[in-house]
Amino acid sequence: MEPVLEAKGISKRFPGVLALDGVSLALHPGEVHALVGENGAGKSTLIKVFTGVYHPDGGELLHQGRPAVFGTPMDAQHAGISTIYQEVNLVPMMSVARNLLLGREPRGRFGVIDAGAMYEEAGRVLAGYGVETDVRRPLRDLGIGAQQMVALARAVSVDARVVIMDEPTSSLEPREVGTLFGVIRRLRDSGIAVMYVSHRLDELYQVCDRVTVLRDGRLAHTGQLAELERLQLISLMLGRDLGEVRGSGMTKFSRDRHLAAGTSVDQQAEPVVEARGLTRRHVLDGVDVSVRPGEVVGLGGLLGAGRTETAKAIVGAMPIDGGQVIVGGLPLRGGSTKAAIRAGVSLLPEDRKAEGIIPTLSVRENIALAALPSLGTAGVVSDTKIDRVVEIFMRRLRIKAASPNQLVSELSGGNQQKVLLARWLAVRPKVLLLDEPTRGIDVGAKAEVQALIDELAAEGLGVLLISSDLEELVEGADRILVLREGAVVGELSGDDVTEERIMATIAEQADG
């Protein structure tokens, strides 16, 4: 059968990055097609090309076999391509019925909207989607799941031939997920092509027919999902070949930490930080983590498994519904990063630009930022103290800048990351939570950061290491906790710390 929508060798370049590199994907009528990949794989760029938000720099888009150019998202919609985003884009104050039938309301005499007919039709349509509600009420009274159903019903009823769903289940209850799957299967049976983007492998295997895996902007795999084992799928996403044999690793960790005898970790020592039962609806489900002095604990798992959220919950940067964090035997009180930092727990955030650097300030000021109160007297900063700290860390971390007064935004990614590490080391933490510390930095800086982690652990610092780079995780960590869907599903230590074991743990079926 002819594909309803097809990408042929699509490329898209952004300043400094090739987001898509010759990606091809065909969506056939009556199939549910999974699109998967880790951060930066190019999923959202591809979706935006399909929906007319971005224009490809190379390659061709075919719509029902004919070359198509979607100048605007409107063009794509007119061509029958509908997108359901995580955030519902409807009008919350208007009634459910109006939202569903907006622009197509049944008219009575003189072109006036026939309210009775509108409510009746809306009720009938929604019943088919498992939404039983008073359609006269404003949309915002509905739960997120039901709102999403309205969005879906609306998308389908405007004659969609292709429905793209981006993480549709991220805020749904299990019952709602079931309903959604029922709807998706019905769409498929009526000949609509569904593209389904999700990180939840269980869901993919339940509802999808085919799968396309993207990695680093390239097509990594496309084929029948049923023929692909979970483990294979994960290894395709992470870019690690199964059974790949390597001699010594490429990372700059002095040795495979977990194998080295007599590392500085004292197994009897009290944990410096211990998180118990961290819970947040839809995000974390009773996560326990503890880090001992001198220990590097790795957090493994796919994107969206709750690794970043665990780190943020520990430092109080994300509110939690339950659980507690204990530092040095004392519980950390109430969600503020300030309290955590004072207790000796610091987070190097994942998104360097949005959460790390202060672009308008110099290298010097960025390094001194967190330690400022201790680098002065009576609220007046001491230049000598700051200069000393800045000099020590610029030398130790080999930060390459024209001068300490250069704007931090002018540095390379690797040097910016070192500036942020310096910011944290300057407050002399007991535990550092490192979220993707080497992502997006050049090879040289990566090696230096890895060597530094080793060195700091040897000095007795506890480290929680989050990394999507399995090799880095395996060689850098003493012990690895594997997360899936917000819960710890496995703990690996000693000889079990291997890439294969991590992937196998991720792949295990939920509920066995």
Binding site: V315, A317, T337, K338, A340, I341, R342, L347, P349, A354, E355, G356, I357, I358, P359, T360, L361, E365, A368, L369, A370, L372, P373, G376, G379, V380, V381, R423, V427
Partner: protein
């Protein structure tokens, strides 16, 4: 696109940001100098001491208010309530003159700080957008001032009159106060933990929170300081007028203050505060108006030229930001 750029346009591409950066950093000083030079050459009696003094005295309230405004804008905020807080201070100061001018001054300053704290609390703790929170105060606070003192009231407090009109070594006291506050503000921004935190929060609020900065407390303080300075400006202006006029005192001064900050090269996107340049921005606007009036150009000309300068300043800042 790289193959399309010629060497010349490449050189321009390197040069352009530098030119804009220079304009943003020093443009306001250059403009003030140029205007001074022009006046020395072409304006009769310009160097006359009394002329100079008049200009400075007139610009003083704007300078004081814009010091607070620069701080607020540095946090990516804005404070529209300053003019109304000036009028509140004028009303309060005459109400309490019976206790002596100094206690009255203090009560007026407290009033300004409280009004500022109201705006700051809305911004920092409730999460209202600064423009909305302070707009509410702009309306409400002037109303309050008018309730206290419904029409113009003259007063005879010798102390307060002296504050507004006497001089030390030929320099009016209120100008000295503005000068001292400028120095103080430069010190606060450059040399105190608080000042550095203000700039960091304006530069990246999320990063500041993750770095353990007391973000909410700093935001609140910034609006309190702005309210305090506005109240002081209100009292000084009242002292000079020798009458409290809550109905019209400080009308539209928030716009003059924002103009001074912007023309001084402080970006509205926060993360950077230029204290001395802000003062220069206020002086530039004052000097420009005086010059054009002296040369018998109508008021509308002044407004058009000022608009041109604001656009130029914003353009220079914007170009730099998109680098």
């Amino acid at each position: 696109m790289a193959e399309l750029t010629s060497p010349r346009s490449e050189r321009m591409a390197v040069l352009k940001p530098r030119v804009y950066a220079w304009v943003q950093d020093y443009g306001v000083y250059a403009a003030v100098l140029a205007l001074l030079l022009f006046n020395v050459l072409f304006t009769p009696y310009f160097l006359d001491a009394s002329n100079f003094r008049t200009q400075l005295v007139q610009v003083t309230p704007i300078v004081i208010v814009s010091l607070g405004m620069a701080l607020v804008i540095g946090t990516q905020g804005i404070d529209l309530s300053v003019g109304s807080i000036m009028s509140l201070a004028a009303a309060v100061v005459v109400l309490y003159l019976g206790y002596g001018w100094l206690p009255a001054l203090i009560v007026a300053l407290v009033g300004g700080a409280v009004a500022g704290a109201a705006g700051g609390a809305l911004v920092a703790y409730v999460g209202v957008q600064p423009i909305v929170a302070t707009l509410a105060l702009l309306v409400g606070v002037r109303g309050l001032a008018n309730v206290f003192v419904p029409q113009l009231v003259e007063f005879r407090s010798a102390g307060l009159i002296a504050l507004g009109s006497s001089s030390v070594a030929g320099i009016p006291i209120i100008v000295l106060i503005a000068g001292a506050l400028t120095l103080l503000m430069m010190f606060v921004v450059r040399r105190t933990t608080f000042g550095r935190q203000v700039v960091a929060i304006g530069g990246n609020r999320t990063a500041s929170e993750l770095s353990g900065l007391p973000v909410k407390r700093v935001l609140l303080s910034v609006y309190v300081i702005s309210g305090l300075l506005a109240a002081l400006a209100g009292v000084l202006a009242t002292a000079r007028l020798q009458a409290a006029d809550p109905t019209s005192l400080g009308l539209f001064i928030e716009l003059s203050a924002i103009t001074a900050v912007v023309v001084g090269g402080t970006p509205l996107t926060g993360g950077r505060i230029r204290v001395l340049s802000t003062v220069m921005g206020a002086l530039l606007m004052q000097l420009l108006a005086a010059t054009l009036i002296k040369h018998n150009l109508p008021q509308s000309w002044t407004q058009i030229v000022q608009a041109g300068i604001i656009l130029a300043a914003v353009y220079a800042t914007r170009e730099r930001g998109t680098r």
